[in-house]
Symmetry: C2
Subunit: 563 residues, 2 copies
């Protein structure tokens, strides 16, 4: 790929402590990266200095070639044939938070991808640290994923987003996916159903329809104390987190790759549950402290949802992840989980459903409504993320500046009024100065507000987008089951299958319907709780914010009234 060059349009005095470089008008720069986002590129000067530049300050001299491979044509299958059973390609993409099109750079996470590449593979691997590192990307290269000045929220690219969602939608009707997940084998009774009573997951009837048995002993798990550890004499470094489940209060130490492994297990096992993606792998570097904290916050958010889930919370793999402190036992438990017989289509073997049959038409229409709901809500959340991201940027940039400009202009007037030789109403002068300062401080408040309200709100909505983008593939399993059931009914009409054979197929289709409906109800309950909670938190902060502005203005007014 030819080097992309750009010419400086204006002078730019970069803040080197923020990773920026300076350049002059007409200076020729080599553009190293254009996918940094928020209006920043990475560039190199002729003298070798390399860092961030604002893209609007330069003009490209050559048209850049696309940085990512072009998206596959819409009709190509999006699931490669060599994917193992139960691996859901959407769930498997570890780039949910921020929903950016992954650049290959971003997949290189030097803190995590040190010893094994377990993320995209189900090969048995020990999670214990080994010493065979490879991708040792040098520091300072490609460190700018989110490390741009001001730490503004990542803008979700509508294009990348659309194309991702497009993929989900286009694969949604391909029934073969169902077969790949082992659904067909389950439906046709080709898999062993000898599940011990203790492993059964019971679905109950509620007034809203089937639901999971409520969590008997709810618990929480806090993530804390992220620590940078090294191996290979410091050549490789990674972050460990302390996890403390409330039921044991015994700390375990986990790394991102362990979360990644857990995520993969949950996705391949719980095929009727939309397991949200993990936070995307960030590139750390200069700003690692902030990123580690943010990563931890996102991992906590993800884990909170998992330990709240009535089916996942008490699953063996989850408990193993949360409790195992012994390296040997860890490896054993890891191997056992990877050989779990009840993954993919076989997961439905463990469901204990209400005894009566489902009304297939009714279930189909419920699913149709729900599918539309998921698609619409996904669009709404996309819009909410975009508008709130933009709103956040406006707070931290233009709004802040407007108020500060106003503040400065009053303070300028106060300086004139404060001339030693003009002894008129020092009180008024002080009041105007105070008012100027108040507006300047209001400007600061605008800058500092989004981390208190908009950013947590955006985080929550982005988490929902992860779930919503995962859901279509989950619903596809059910659609496949319904398709298979209809196929069997037709075969019965044609005399190819006996009534009892078909009845047992329909019963198994009902099991899938029950599981899917139970999770749908669980989703709605969570959604109502989550949105109520996030909006309340957001509004409370907003109210405090505007009250804060009001009280600054009231203090200013009091100064004038006393003048």
């Amino acid at each position: 790929m030819a080097a992309v060059q750009a010419k400086g349009l204006y002078q730019f005095d970069g803040d080197s402590t923020n990773g920026e470089i300076s350049f002059e008008p007409d200076e020729i720069l080599t553009i190293v990266r254009q996918d940094i986002g928020e209006g920043w590129w990475e560039a190199r000067r002729e003298n070798g200095d390399q860092g961030l530049i604002p893209e609007t300050y330069v003009e490209l001299l050559s048209i850049p070639e696309p940085q990512f491979p072009p998206p596959p044509p819409p009709n190509l299958p999006s699931i490669p044939n060599n994917l193992p059973l139960g691996v859901n390609p959407v769930n498997n993409a570890n780039h949910g938070f921020g929903n950016r099109e992954p650049s290959y750079d971003e997949w290189d996470d030097e803190w995590e991808d040190d010893d094994d590449q377990s993320s995209n593979s189900t090969d048995n691997q020990s999670g214990a640290p080994t010493s065979t590192g490879s991708q040792n990307e040098p520091h300072g290269q490609g460190n700018f994923g989110l490390s741009v000045p001001k730490r503004e929220r990542k803008q979700v690219s509508p294009t990348s987003d659309m194309s991702k969602y497009g993929t989900v939608k286009s694969s949604f009707n391909r029934f073969s996916h169902f077969a790949k997940l082992g659904g067909e084998a389950f439906m046709m009774g080709q898999v062993n159903a000898d599940v011990p009573e203790s492993d059964l997951i019971k679905i109950i009837e509620t007034e809203n329809g089937p639901d999971w048995t409520p969590l008997q002993s709810p618990y929480t798990c806090t993530i804390s104390s992220p620590k940078k550890a090294t191996k290979m004499k410091g050549l490789k470094s990674f972050i460990t987190y302390h996890l403390t489940p409330s039921f044991s209060n015994i700390q375990v130490s986990r790394r991102y790759k362990h979360f990644d492994w857990l995520h993969l297990r949950l996705v391949e096992k719980f095929v009727c549950i939309p397991v949200p993606p993990l936070p995307c792998k960030q590139i750390s570097g200069r700003y690692e402290e902030d990123f580690i904290q943010e990563r931890m916050r996102h991992l906590q958010q993800w884990l909170d949802r998992m330990v709240r889930h009535p089916v996942i919370a008490h699953s063996e793999v989850m408990l193993h992840f949360l409790t195992c402190t012994n390296e040997k036992k860890w490896t054993e438990g890891k191997r056992k989980a990877e050989k779990d017989p009840y993954v993919g289509g076989k997961f439905f073997l463990v469901l204990q459903t209400p005894p009566h049959a489902c009304d297939m038409k009714d279930v189909e229409s419920q699913m149709e409504v729900f599918c539309r709901f998921v698609m619409n809500m996904n669009e709404n959340c996309k819009t909410l993320v975009a508008t709130n991201n933009d709103f956040s940027k406006k707070h931290m940039g233009p709004f802040k500046r407007e108020f500060q400009k106003i503040g400065n202009s009053y303070r300028g007037l106060a300086r004139t009024f404060n001339d030693d030789h003009v002894p008129y109403s020092r009180d008024l002068t002080a009041a105007i100065d105070y008012m100027g300062e108040a507006y300047t401080m209001i400007g600061d408040m605008f800058e500092k507000q989004p981390p208190k309200d908009l950013h947590p709100l955006i985080d929550s909505i982005i988490e929902y987008r992860g779930i919503l983008q995962t859901y279509p593939d989950v619903l596809k399993v059910h659609e496949g089951a319904v398709g298979k059931a209809k196929e069997c009914l037709k075969s019965q009409e044609e005399g190819k299958l006996t009534e009892s054979e078909v009845q047992s197929v329909l019963q198994r289709a009902d099991t899938i319907s029950y599981g899917t409906l139970a999770e749908m109800h669980n989703f709605h309950h969570e959604r109502v709780k989550d949105f109520k909670d996030m909006m309340q938190k957001y509004l409370k902060e907003q109210i405090e914010f505007y009250k804060g502005i009001t009280s600054k203005l009231e203090a200013s007014l009091a100064m004038f009234e006393n003048a």
Copy 2:
């Protein structure tokens, strides 16, 4: 001048009720006016449609010639020789409010400039309506002075402003101005001092220095009921206002040209008082109702200041203007005022000063400080107008849009949640919808706020700019007097003047100093009062505004808490 043409860059769907025209990309338009401001031009389509277009939607095809004559080179005298005594060219410019460079179009005020062109002339003319109209500019042409969509505040052009202030400054040191105003004749005792006792204006000593005798019977005068009147069988139309002074409660009917006449009389008489300019002559037309109201508000502001002034309030010309209801007497009083013997330098003849002499050094240093103060305050006010204008635009455009975008995105989510087939928590859905509506309403509040706080504030500051830009010429009179006094002292040293001759010159210089200092103190008192008042009013509205936002958010939060 060649027609300026432009090509449409984008499609624009104009709001014809707002005077806008629509056009297509690549359509060629003839640009009729570019000096409309706020990003609007007036253009004509090939089909003859004419109206406003947003300038950023088109690209100019030919470079427009300058619309205004170039400013005179800085060293040319800025006072034409044929200007009559006492006419202050800055005060005489009737375009104070808004401080725009006057385009010739704007001087054509069809409601006012119907029968005579008295504004720039001191020829005796009857103010009574006559029927010799000339510049009958057709309706709908050049009607867009302020009549652009959204009625945003006029942006003060920093360039035009600088050049105007530059002119004031450059003429500030030309002592000859003093002589033109009759100051030299007064100083040298060449003018008659036979002033009746009743006409004397007394300057008193206060702890802050000399001041005008406080106004003995303060009064107010309200302007109301602007009415469009016509003459020449409807060919000419103009606006009459009702003026009701509080001391008589007898309505008089006045037109803009009468104000203009009064302004000219005040400027030529009260040479040590900065008489602020009248609101600029606006072109009315389609939006005349709004303009008439705004014009009236500005005239009221101007008149309020004049009737508050301890010297001007009870002057004969002011009382004539406020009370005369008889056409014949009006003409008599008008002629008398135009023949007032105590105008210009001779105004100082009517001042009755404290008996003791001034310390010339002390007065000079006070004036130096004050001159700097005026210049600095003028700069501060310029900045305040610019930042607050900008702030106002931000409220009515971007701020509003940001909040409405946020509101719409919540309402979109509520629509999805409101799906008839998804019966989960209607309360939550209603709360989200309410919250979306609240943000939309907050957006509306941002749009509606500037007329309540920023616009009155800007009006007040612009009024001060009018005073401040007028003041240097006023101070020049004093500087001329001091110069003349020093010249006489030197002549005495050289034996060209006797001590008693010089003493009487110094005494007359003291009279000018007393008058100038008295007005300076009056200015400071007014300034302190006005700025306290305008800031309090502004802050009170701001506080209400942010309280209003808070209560909208609190109502939204309550909806969630009840959900």
